[in-house]
Symmetry: C2
Subunit: 233 residues, 2 copies
DNA sequence: CAGTATCCGATGCGATACTG
DNA sequence: CAGTATCGCATCGGATACTG
């Protein structure tokens, strides 16, 4: 019935059993998204833009069958949400370990060959730390200079600990303008460069509220994997 | 050129980059074999009996391109051996983590649906600890009663710290006979049961040198993952 | 918003046979 | 022993359109 019989390895080894669950296309990335807190279908899609909805649906059902996630109505609404089971949560160190390995051993140039502004901004949104920011609402506009006008600006609206990401002008006054190119911002995000260094090198330009600009190193939380060293190739 | 462009995820995230390397069919199992010490092509095949040599060859080349392994002539012979690079060694905690997760969270019945006597014996061979055995050569015969005669016996020859596995009678006098069924022996190996308990339950029969039989719990090193608990489903 | 339905092309990969 | 060569099917999964 399940297509798993043909794809199995036929080995009792737990690594083989785990690989049958994990080592399918997109599966680790779905888990990454869920470990980062995504629970809704379209929220997941946002972090997996190149994945078709049909395949996402299939994978979610497989993960449910494998006992890694469960679906349930959230907050009494009809809408369903996906949540990690204890078995799914237990995979955190494995997924994180894969990320740490990738950060350490994959050449940075390979990562930087996969630039994607919406993924980058989506990632920044969910890791931004509002606490070091000055109190009150803050609106930060990112502009990637080399992208076509009309498709090159993102707005982060931070208010009362909530972070919103907009792809079109939300109409608020902007407190801080960040202008750079996509590769530089991604390199900063990955920990391959520091934002203050890139400002000095005039590859990043900050304009606006000096308190926001001065604390950018603090509230712009880098990718969870942007620690430690990279391979000295 | 590489087929990787089409299989990539298009994400700069290190988990995605690592998944592109690791999450392909058989790859984690090849790494498992190499982390356990296998270096030769046919040695790898032995641990991956359902994998075709063509695919193994392809995967090894991919792993080499990804910088996880390197091939070199061993000991001056023409024969090539495969060895993990530092990047490959660095995956040990990830692979081990997958195994620990699988052991903890995959139901034991699923693992025990994948019985394979030659894999089991190959695994026992490489984890057997000669030290707790009485000094001198020891020959242990395993017999799986339900398998067809002529295909149900394996011999382990332990001599001077070396362990050899034979599928046909090596001709030596046998010091210890172990008779059981494949499922029971696999369950013991996985840590789902204890050998002494299974002897008491008369599902395992030991006959021969009492010193060997008495120390079986010590020299029969269980699978590296046979620790900790399993999920209380 | 949260998915399904359908289609079809690419390719992964298993089986088998063969070679230096 | 250490792989290549070849073949062909199955299925994986990408694209697009549609629905409750």
């Amino acid at each position: 019935m399940s297509t798993r019989e043909t794809t199995g390895y036929g080995q009792f080894c737990p690594i083989a059993m785990a690989s049958e669950v994990l080592c399918r296309r997109w599966t680790t990335l779905i888990l990454r998204e869920m470990l980062c807190g995504s629970t809704r279908f379209n929220e997941l899609r946002r972090g997996l833009p190149r994945m078709s909805p049909a395949l996402l649906s299939t994978r979610l059902r497989e993960l449910e069958e494998s006992g890694l996630i469960e679906r349930r109505g959230d907050g009494g609404e009809a809408a369903t949400g996906y949540h990690l089971t204890p078995a799914g949560q237990a995979l955190r160190p494995v997924i994180v370990g894969m990320g740490e390995w990738g950060h350490r051993w994959i050449e940075s140039s390979a990562s930087l060959a996969n630039l994607d502004p919406s993924l980058l901004m989506w990632d920044i949104r969910r890791n931004l730390r509002p606490e070091p920011m000055p109190p009150g609402r803050a609106v930060v506009q990112f502009r990637f200079k080399e992208l076509p006008a009309g498709k090159n600006r993102w707005w982060l609206i931070v208010d009362a600990g909530e972070v919103d990401l907009c792809y079109s002008d939300p109409g608020f006054d902007v407190d801080l303008y960040v202008a750079t190119d996509l590769r530089t911002m991604t390199a900063i995000w990955m920990g391959f460069a520091s934002i203050n260094g890139e400002v000095k090198a005039r590859r990043v330009f900050l304009e606006g509220d000096p308190r926001l600009a001065g604390s950018v190193q603090d509230w712009l939380r880098y990718s969870p994997f942007a620690t430690g060293s990279t391979a000295a190739e």
